[in-house]
């Protein structure tokens, strides 16, 4: 019941799209959708998603492997650094790149920026899976005559395939929904077309009709991911009794590997940092008073926290259901949370304006509706974390606790919660930092008069006051880096 309610909420944008698209009428829909341009844009969006997802998988898995399974120098340091790009919003990264490299525009530059910002979505879960995996299967493989590298490729990678697939799906959906990088680096994608439709002639209906295509693409992607999962079946995790994973000696490749990770870090973190510093030095505009910056930072933290916690409340039933009572229903509910994930923030924002005005007017332009929008956008991030965490508290423990006379609520508080809390906290941290970076829905739904770091950043860049914008960007990245750091440390990297 609770799961269905949570999923229902996540589907508000889809319902909204259905209402508005319905109003548009058939001829309008056909006019908007069945054009060559739509086909080209959809193709390009999918191509971008494919390229970025492949690149993120390569970098994410590679970095995770180096950090968890080899004798790489300064492994812990790289474990944290490799996760940090998650704190950089794509619009900040895109902006940094175009102001650093001449003629930085088009498909491949956009792919580069998106890859650098989103590969941690693959890195984090895969690193956690690699660090926590049971070495027994690998030992069996080695004993059957497969070398260390072949074992990694044929056994280890297969073990962590669900983590890779989950991360890759998030990246693909993220690329479909991203507007920041693609607009700045100028590549025409579907999401950009939707934003353009809003801007060009203030055409709300056309933009919304176009958005339905993204929903269709998302459903296709989810379906694709499900089929790989069905073939991969379930991987039983027999408790590895805390044995540390096998580490492979890199030998001559040690320093080149470290250099490669350093290069990724420089591109993903160094370029934005240098660009921000340069902007600050070149411009004469200055941000408002320290108090203003502090207020924006405080607001960012508060709304992101509210958003993250609300998302978690909604994700708990779905995640626990997926973990505890797997089956077609749980899978369906779980997947439905993804449907809104690829919709651009502005569509989510408008759908919640619609929801707030027509259904929940007392909440309209309150922090709650904004938090709800975050929940709608980022539910899948949290559901995945909860499902993973629930595995840390097998049902046998809860049954024992109940047989010892504790009621369900008390069992949850004294057994389930303490055991799943680290995982839930990690999920909350992930949603929290993602909320901090979110812009379009925040602009539409924030309480009137409330500024966050992201909105301040937007305000200042839209009037070319880059020096004034730089501190907000730096603070945004800095604050988002804290939960990211927590995630990477926890990932066992």
């Amino acid at each position: 019941m609770a799961s269905a309610a949570a999923v229902g909420l996540a589907l508000v944008p889809v319902a909204y799209l259905a209402v508005r698209t319905g109003e548009a009428g058939w001829t309008r829909i056909v006019d908007e959708l069945f054009t060559r341009r739509v086909a080209v844009l959809a193709g390009r969006s999918l191509a971008l998603a494919a390229v970025v997802t492949s690149a993120c998988t390569a970098i994410g898995v590679g970095a995770a492997f180096l950090v968890t399974r080899t004798d790489l120098p300064a492994r812990r340091f790289f474990g944290v650094v490799a996760a940090l790009p998650l704190a950089v919003p794509t619009y900040v990264a895109g902006f940094a790149w175009i102001s650093t490299v001449d003629r930085f525009e088009g498909f491949w530059p956009a792919a580069l920026v998106l890859t650098l910002c989103s590969y941690p979505y693959v890195f984090l879960p895969v690193a956690a899976a690699l660090a926590g995996g049971d070495p027994a299967q690998e030992e069996v493989s080695r004993s059957l005559g497969r070398g260390a590298w072949r074992t990694f490729a044929s056994v280890t990678l297969r073990q962590v395939r669900p983590s890779i697939a989950a991360g890759a799906l998030l990246v693909a959906l993220y690329v479909l929904s991203d507007f920041g990088a693609v607009s700045i680096v100028r590549v025409d994608t579907f999401t950009r077309a939707i934003f353009t439709a809003f801007n060009v002639g203030f055409d709300r209906t056309g933009a919304l009709v176009l958005s339905t295509v993204l929903v269709v693409l998302t459903v296709l992607l989810i379906g694709g991911e499900l089929t790989t999962r069905a073939r991969g079946a379930r991987y039983a995790r027999v408790g590895g009794a805390g044995r540390p994973p096998i580490r492979l000696p890199l030998r001559a490749a040690r320093w080149p590997a470290a250099a490669a990770l350093t290069a990724v870090a420089v591109l993903a973190l160094g370029v934005p940092a240098a660009s921000l510093a340069r902007r600050l030095a070149e411009g004469v505009s200055r941000p408002g008073s320290l108090a203003e910056i502090a207020t924006a930072a405080g607001n960012s933290l508060a709304v992101s926290l509210a958003g993250a916690l609300l998302t978690m409340v909604l994700a708990l039933p779905v995640g626990l259901l997926t973990a505890r009572a797997p089956g077609p229903l749980a899978t369906l509910l779980d997947r439905l949370t993804y449907v809104a994930h690829a919709l651009p923030g502005v569509v989510i924002g408008l759908s919640l304006v619609f929801f707030g005005i027509n259904v929940a007017y007392p909440l309209y332009q309150s922090v709650w509706l904004l938090a709800l929008a975050y929940a709608t956008l980022f539910l899948p991030l949290a559901v995945g974390a909860v499902a993973g965490a629930a595995a840390q508290s097998p049902p046998a423990l809860e049954e024992v606790a109940r047989s010892l006379g504790r009621g369900p609520a008390k069992v949850f508080r004294t057994v389930t919660l303490p055991l799943t809390l680290p995982g839930i906290a990690a999920g909350t941290a992930l949603v929290f930092l993602t909320c901090m970076k979110e812009l379009p829905a925040t602009l539409l739904l924030r309480p009137t008069g409330m500024d966050t770091l992201a909105t301040e950043l937007w305000t200042h860049t839209s009037t070319a006051s880059y020096a004034a914008a730089a501190p907000y960007a730096a603070l945004l990245v800095g604050l988002a880096a804290v939960p990211t750091w927590f995630l990477s440390v926890r990932g066992g990297a």
């Binding site: 046998a396 024992v400 606790a401 109940r402 047989s403 006379g405």
Partner: protein
Amino acid sequence: MLSVTGVRKSYGDVVALDGVDLDVPAGTLVAVLGPSGCGKTTLLRCVAGFEHIHSGRIDVDGRRVAGAGPHVPPHRRRVAVVPQEGALFPHLNVAANVAFGLDRAARRSGRVDEVLALVGLPGFGDRMPHQLSGGQQQRVAVARALAPRPPLVLLDEPFSALDAGLRADVRRDVRQALHTDGATALLVTHDQGEALSMADRVAVMNAGRIVQYGPPAAVYREPADPWVAGFVGEAVLLAATVDGTGAATALGRIALRGPAPAGLHTVLLRPEQLRISDNGGGVAATVVRHDFHGHDALVQLQLADGTRVTARVLDTTPPVVTGETVTVTVSGQAHTFPPRP
């Protein structure tokens, strides 16, 4: 203390419990013995309250916990469970694990130390579960179940994960602890040795029914049917022609334990009833196989008419060689199975 009457439970088309009746008297340890898939774990989960039953009823300590009327939730049944592999709470230390089912007053009463001592782990309260060996974890799990003095303790294959040497020790100590504490317990296991050595009574279960219920010796010596005979131990089943005083078999004439109607029967001997000698009387047999077990050995023999039988010989008897011819005698009486209802 526990009374299970006519309990049925199925999962879709699969019948897990097909009319189970079982009474566990206070202060006894009853083992439910059966092969995997026979429904024994389902029975335990129904008694614990983790599963709902479809018909029948379950009473614990004179109180209806399942059946017509409301289903009492697990935490109100006062039935403590010791699951497989212990399932200690990994985030709590040993003392906190043991105290889990206790109220505040009971915690201060020294009950925790008492039950830890009972299972042979005094002074282990501050350890964390991951610092314990498998056997110690299992002892703590038992202590945790005993601590609140529940009317009934359920043990779900609690020793299956332990290695053989350790298992015997833990079994003995747990049995001792249960008895000392006066607990009533239901042990679910597929290990006949465990059931026979620990339990006061054994309920043999097959295909969702209890096929025999009695003291270990009775179940072993007088199994209800050939299946039970084979499940609770090595069985020598012989075709026999029964007359007034005994039975004629391939091993010669054998006395019967009880009266049986004349006619063709299958009779049961246990391997330890067969004696091997290289001279002397008896029936001639060829040694087909010899499985050495240390304290004893199982020797498979082929009789002149082709019947194969198994003899258990102690290590003290002279060694037998495969292919050699020996003679076999029978000591004691054979068991005839009661007629099928």
